[in-house]
């Protein structure tokens, strides 16, 4: 008995020692900061004057009457919708095309995946040159006889530009996830459907899509959460402009905290962002039963 309990105790010790780094790390760098942000959000914190005053829910009440926040939320919605739709559609299309057994597909897969491993800021800076009024994209358009807009100086084209830059940066990752899922679709199911006379579109809709639906869920969650956290691209390409057209929620939060020294209000905005991400993720998780094949 004694040896058995010693063995249990050793197992217990080994187990907890193994998980200790990640548990302690999460506590120190995730849970504690989250709690502190909530605490800060209940204060008015003036860094220069070195004052830290409890104001209760004032920062949250301020959100209701802040027109800048409304604009930022609207910009966030447009950005997220644009990014999620274009990114997932393009990733799926590329994955289907590159899932064919044709020569050269590996090269194309590498080509589309390579931006994922490029430094985000380096990638965005290169695009900022391409998108200038006299930059590479308009140069290319002029060769075709078309006159391109001054992409980053008009509200609509600036938003489109930011979305496109972000899509090309990350579409490769989603493409690889979809490719892995597509390769897990059993060939015999396709074969059987083909014998039953199903066309390509019918097979894709009735066999492929349901079987890769868990991956679609995963990709949707990653992409939506990622779209809410976009920062560097906005800062490098547009600085939130023109006007406030590309000031998304995270950028607005950054301005409040680090430009305007409104650390208390920025903390309240961070809590809002946290809740938005949480609610969206829960909604997707709840809805999975309706459309994710494996969950049925």
């Amino acid at each position: 008995m004694a040896t058995a309990s010693a063995a249990v105790r050793r197992d217990w010790l080994v187990g907890y020692t193994m998980v200790a780094p990640v548990v302690l790390g999460s506590l120190a760098f995730v849970v504690l900061p989250l709690g502190m942000v909530v605490w800060y959000s209940l204060h008015e914190w003036n860094v220069l004057a070195n004052t830290f005053t409890f104001v209760g829910a004032e920062n949250y009440q301020r959100m209701a009457s802040d027109p800048g926040l409304g604009d930022a939320l609207l910009a966030t919605v447009w950005f997220s919708i644009g990014l999620v739709v274009v990114n997932i559609a393009l990733a799926l299309l590329l994955a289907v095309l590159l899932n064919q057994k044709l020569p050269g597909t590996t090269t194309f897969r590498t080509f589309f995946f390579s931006p994922v491993v490029v430094s985000l800021v380096a990638w965005t800076i290169v695009w900022s040159f391409l998108l200038q009024a006299d930059g590479g994209i308009n140069g290319f358009l002029s060769v075709l006889g078309a006159e391109g807009p001054n992409w980053l100086r008009h509200p609509t084209t600036a938003m489109i530009a930011v979305i496109i830059v972000q899509v090309f940066k990350n579409v490769g990752l989603n493409m690889i996830l979809f490719l892995a899922a597509l390769q897990g679709v059993p060939e015999e199911l396709q074969e059987a459907a083909r014998l039953d006379g199903a066309g390509a579109w019918r097979r894709f809709r009735s066999i492929t899509l349901p079987l890769i639906s868990p991956t679609i869920l995963l990709v949707s969650i990653i992409t939506i959460v990622g779209s809410l956290e976009v920062f560097a691209q906005i800062d490098v390409l547009t600085g939130g402009g023109p006007g406030n057209s590309t000031t998304v929620l995270v950028y607005y939060l950054y301005q409040q905290a680090f430009r305007f020294n409104e650390f208390g209000y920025a903390s309240a905005l961070a809590v809002l962002l946290f809740l938005i991400v949480l609610v969206l993720t829960l909604l997707q998780w709840q809805s999975r039963k309706r459309w994710v094949f494996h969950e049925v």
């Binding site: 900061p33 942000v37 860094v47 800062d235 305007f260």
Partner: protein, 437 residues
């Protein structure tokens, strides 16, 4: 372009820490220790001063002055370290250090942020130390240079740099376009903004490059347009900072002139076009004379004062102050070091890069001794006369928010068919609550 690059690289770091930075910052615990004659600390202290220059020769000069101070006061300090924070995110990084309870002992401060810092209580009053330091010659400081940094009787930073804005001219490009030399126009009294615009437009057309660049403006940092609208005696807000004056006729005229110079005359680079005068991309640029160090011998150049506007000639200086943080660990030692760093003897050395606020040093010969690229005549015309009755760029207690709000509103102005008056009316509507704040 390179400035933009640096900013971009900086933001990578900012982005990476954004999520946790807020949370990890701790409440700084400042002291209100009175500043006076420093008491000898139990052991020598280390001082840290944040600056935005990364120029090795400037940093070497600072370090040599600091090392001399350490040698003279071994019981007070063991080292003085100069920490470079890039220009573009300087104030942001500085306030983040303050938020994190990691205040530097001394820091350079932009003029635009001066009222905010001066009135906040973050800085200690330097007047007693500077006046009380033997041989400092406080009365030699030009009173008008100190105004921005005073609150009541207190002086909360020392304006170590008073660099006038001037026009650098690429005489090769202008000559090739058959345009009159601005130096001659200055002599004839014909050096006006209209003349500068016409020369810039004609030269740009001939060279295929850009005409006149208001350096560092880039359709973002609008406060740099003060070098233009001051010729119209225009200003963004009233002197007391409570009333928006963007809609005043002078400002409307100045902005209309600027808009037309860009979109009608093509005398200035359009939005989204970058051009570096010092790389030979433009015929003229308005910037501070301290940028002369960026010139090499790849083209012939000259320097002239800012042109006259419809309201006459208005000098504009860019100031920078250096202050001592109350939240630093050793404010009294830091203030004593500042008195040494900026005394008459060291100010003369620093004048190589930063025109000092000292009457005795503001003459062409003194400055020429420190500025090998410029002649005594050029310095007399541009610096000595340039600081007389000069205005500074806009500053306000609420500058951070004003800066961003005005930038967002003025974006509507930087399109070809903009309605200047309507945009400026919108700008006033947007910033009036901030001015009243």
């Amino acid at each position: 372009m390179s400035v933009h690059h640096i900013r971009n690289r900086r933001t990578a770091g900012t982005a990476a820490v954004l999520g946790t930075a807020l949370a990890l910052s701790a409440c700084a615990g400042g002291t209100d220790a009175p500043v006076g004659e420093p008491e000898t600390p139990s052991e020598p202290v280390d001082l840290r001063m944040t600056v935005w220059t990364a120029d090795e020769t400037q940093l070497d000069l600072f370090q040599s002055i600091a090392d001399a101070y350490v040698a003279e006061n071994p019981e007070l300090v063991s080292s003085v370290k100069f920490e470079t924070i890039p220009f573009e995110d300087y104030t942001t990084a500085l306030t983040t250090q303050l938020a994190g309870g990691n205040a530097p002992d001394l820091a350079w401060i932009f003029e635009s942020n001066a009222p905010e810092f001066v009135s906040s209580g973050a800085l200690v009053d330097l007047r007693p130390v500077l006046e009380g330091t033997e041989g400092y010659a406080f009365e030699d400081l030009v009173p008008s240079a100190l105004t921005l940094w005073e609150d009541g009787d207190g002086l909360y930073a020392y304006p170590f740099s008073n660099s006038p804005f001037a026009m650098f001219v690429n005489t090769d490009q202008i000559e090739a376009a058959g345009q009159p030399n601005p130096v001659d126009l200055v002599a004839d009294g014909g050096w006006t903004f209209d003349a500068a615009r016409d020369i810039a437009a004609a030269t740009a057309e001939k060279s295929g490059k850009q005409g006149l660049v208001v350096r560092d403006f880039d359709y973002q940092s609008w406060e740099n347009l003060a070098t233009v609208w001051s010729g119209w005696k225009a200003a963004p807000w009233s002197a007391d900072g409570t009333q928006c004056t963007f809609t005043d006729p002078a400002m409307v005229d100045a902005m209309t002139w600027f808009h037309d110079a860009v979109f009608t005359d093509a005398a200035m680079p359009a939005p989204g076009t970058t051009a570096d005068f010092f790389a030979g991309d433009a015929a003229m640029t308005i910037t501070q004379i301290s940028r002369a160090s960026a010139l090499d011998d790849s083209f012939h150049w000259d320097i002239v004062p800012l042109p006259e506007g419809p309201a006459g000639k208005q000098n504009v200086v860019g100031q920078a102050g250096v202050g001592v943080f109350a939240a630093g660990e050793h404010p009294d030692v830091a203030a004593d070091f500042l008195a040494y760093f900026t005394n008459a003897e060291n100010a003369e050395q620093l004048a190589a890069y930063f025109p000092p606020p000292r009457q005795s040093l503001l003459n062409g010969d003194s400055l020429a001794a420190a500025n090998p690229k410029l002649t005594a005549e050029q310095l007399e015309a541009v610096v000595v006369q340039g600081v007389e009755d000069a205005v500074t760029k806009p500053a306000h207690k609420n500058f951070a928010k004003l800066s961003e709000t005005v930038r967002a509103e003025l974006d509507a102005l930087w399109v070809e068919d903009a309605d200047v008056e309507a945009v400026l009316t919108d700008t006033c509507a947007a910033i009036t609550p901030l001015l009243e704040d």
